[in-house]
């Protein structure tokens, strides 16, 4: 599903050169639920951004669904991201001025989908995360857990094959965190959606199929808990 080969990411300023990722090679199988852990600043988010095509590696190769991501135009890359990848962020990134349903519809605005079809798909996605009764609410009227569920609905509304979650439970209490984790597990098992999740929570990480650890930009260990 996703393959990273010898990925290096270096941030350069006039005076300083920072090696954020050092020779990372990683294979994520279709339907796998992978978690990434590591101390702050070790390069987890950078790795996730590269997987999500939001950032480019300095060297190395990213392959998604057997397509080597190289030399794509901005338009083609955006389209690829729109169709293949769903994002979940720690701070939800919902647009507070739009009702829940419109927030969920957002990825479909960048596809050729009729407004009727958009409504239908967004409603289905919200039903999946148990928020069909909050469609007309605004994000400011929701709890943290509900906001994250909206963010999940938005991530899955376009039926992507890969979901990248950057600390999805990081802003939530443990009960809410478990709820979100259950939804992700369900997506993974029921829809065979591949999920890569960055987390600080060992407990959450152990609920995934595999855990990889990063330290100072390098992959230091990999633990297989279950098989996808």
């Amino acid at each position: 599903m996703l393959s990273l080969s010898h990925i290096e990411k270096i941030y350069r300023t006039d005076t300083v050169e920072t090696l954020a990722l050092n020779n990372i090679s990683l294979e994520v199988a279709k339907g796998e639920f992978l978690s990434i852990m590591g101390p702050s600043g070790c390069g987890k988010s950078t790795l996730l951004n590269i997987m999500g095509l939001l950032d480019e590696p300095t060297s190395g190769q990213v392959t998604i669904e057997n397509q080597v991501i190289h030399g794509y135009s901005d338009k083609a890359l955006s389209q690829f991201r729109n169709e293949k990848i769903g994002f979940i962020f720690q701070s939800y990134h919902l647009i507070n001025d739009l009702p829940v349903l419109d927030n969920v519809e957002l990825p479909l605005l960048y596809r050729r989908v009729s407004s009727k079809e958009r409504r239908k798909l967004a409603t289905e996605a919200l039903e999946k995360v148990g928020l069909s009764n909050r469609m007309k609410h605004y994000p400011t009227q929701l709890s943290g857990g509900q906001k994250q569920r909206v963010a999940i609905a938005r991530a899955i509304v376009g039926r992507p094959e890969l979901i990248l979650a950057d600390e999805p439970t990081g802003n939530l209490d443990s009960a809410m965190g478990h709820e979100i984790m259950e939804i992700l597990e369900q997506l993974n098992t029921a829809d065979r959606t591949t999920i890569v999740m960055v987390t600080h929570d060992e407990g959450m990480a152990k609920r995934t199929h595999r855990l990889v650890r990063l330290f100072d930009g390098a992959l230091v260990s990999s633990n297989q808990f279950y098989t996808a």
Binding site: T46, S78, L98, D102, L106, Y110
Partner: protein, 386 residues
């Protein structure tokens, strides 16, 4: 996408209200400036109806108030000018010569309908002196002035105002019983106040008693020496006479200046105002985009390309501008509907169109750079800024 933009604008209506108000005010200013410009331009391109080239305005002061003596003096001048080969035509006229700062008007009545018109007393030779061409009928002659009813020549506009479009003007008698005048001819235009004068009512009458100044049409090769000699020779005809010659062309330029200079100043002031509005808009958009970096990062992550981000922000600005313009149009359209200011509806129509285009161009111009900045935002960075 349009509904999506509308929803976001509506939700932020308080912060967008000021922008809409700015656009609304700018629209009204631009509408006024465009209306004035189009009105002035349309007047400018209309025929003037007179040929001012090689025509001189001659101001003669006979230094007497006695009408009989003045009449004799005029005859003396006529005889003198008739003998000068460089003088092609000449005509005495009332003081309101073309492009002078003097004007005279009076009311005319026909079948209960009253119309105010410029009123010029001239001689039969006035028409050839100014190269005036007839639209209908003829210019009056000396023979006409002997009759019981005084002859007049009127402009087409005057004929339409008094008799409507269907009736033949020539032969009509206007005025009350003791002061009747007969229309003997109609001319198309006589725009004698400036090149920007509108098509207005004008009546030419033949009344000897009001003649004071004169117009002389000279040959194209008349030199400044000839002009000085003519003034001198005319002055020598009488004991205390003073004679001053001015060129009609120069007089027209002076009059034109009194019109276009204020318009130019108005243009500069309005341009400055609109420029300031544009700067304000630019600032608001820049601030807006800086505040919405997270949203831009999110949209990029969800699949918006750079060009879609650019289009989105330009589109949002255009929709906001559209609301301001719509409100402005509501007020602007009242002018032609109420037929205010006696200006053709087409002037307002063009002015509205140009004001709309100007505002949209300003909105796109102001949104262009901030939107490009928005499109260039790096999604990974923007997502971590919030």
């Amino acid at each position: 996408m349009f509904t999506h933009i509308l929803k976001l604008i509506w939700k932020k209506k308080k912060s967008n209200f000021l922008m809409m108000l700015e656009i609304f005010v700018s629209f009204l200013i631009l509408f006024a400036v465009w209306s004035l410009s189009i009105y002035t331009y349309r007047n400018y391109v209309k025929p003037s109806g007179l040929k001012a080239e090689n025509v001189w305005a001659v101001y003669i002061n006979f230094n007497t108030q006695n009408d009989t003596i003045r009449g004799e003096y005029r005859e003396l001048v006529r005889r003198h000018l008739s003998n000068i080969k460089e003088v092609e035509h000449f005509s005495f006229s009332s003081g309101n010569l073309p492009f002078s700062f003097s004007s005279s008007n009076r009311d005319f009545e026909y079948e209960g309908k009253n119309t105010l018109s410029d009123y010029i007393n001239v001689e039969p030779s006035y028409a050839p002196t100014l190269g005036i061409e007839m639209l209908a009928g003829r210019w009056f002659t000396y023979e006409d002035t002997i009759g019981k009813i005084d002859p007049i020549v009127i402009t087409r506009r005057m004929a339409e105002n008094l008799f409507g479009n269907k009736e033949e003007a020539v032969g009509k008698i206007v005025g009350l019983e003791n002061n009747q005048q007969k229309v003997v001819g109609v001319i198309d235009y006589f725009r004698h106040k400036s090149s920007f004068q509108a098509d207005e009512n004008c009546v030419f009458a033949a009344s000897e008693s009001w003649l004071s100044d004169m117009l002389i049409k000279v040959a194209p090769d008349a030199t400044p020496e000839f002009e000085a000699g003519l003034a001198r020779s005319m002055q020598q005809l009488g004991k205390d006479w003073t004679v001053e010659i001015q060129h009609l062309d120069d007089m027209r330029r002076t009059q034109d200046k009194t019109i276009w200079v204020p318009i130019l100043i108005l243009f500069i002031v309005c341009g400055f105002l609109v420029f300031n509005v544009g700067l304000g808009l630019f600032g608001i958009l820049f601030q807006n985009i800086n505040r919405r970096k997270g949203e831009i990062g999110l949209r990029r992550a969800l699949g918006a390309s750079k060009s879609q981000i650019w289009t989105y922000f330009v589109g949002e600005t255009l929709v906001i501008a559209g609301f301001g313009v719509f409100l402005g149009l509501f007020f602007a359209v009242q002018l032609p509907l109420l037929n205010a200011l006696d200006v053709e509806s087409a002037v307002y129509g063009w002015a509205m169109l140009l004001a709309v285009l100007s505002i949209l161009a300003m909105a796109v111009g102001c949104a262009f750079y901030p939107s490009r900045q928005a499109a260039a935002i790096y999604p990974a960075t923007a997502l971590h800024e919030e």
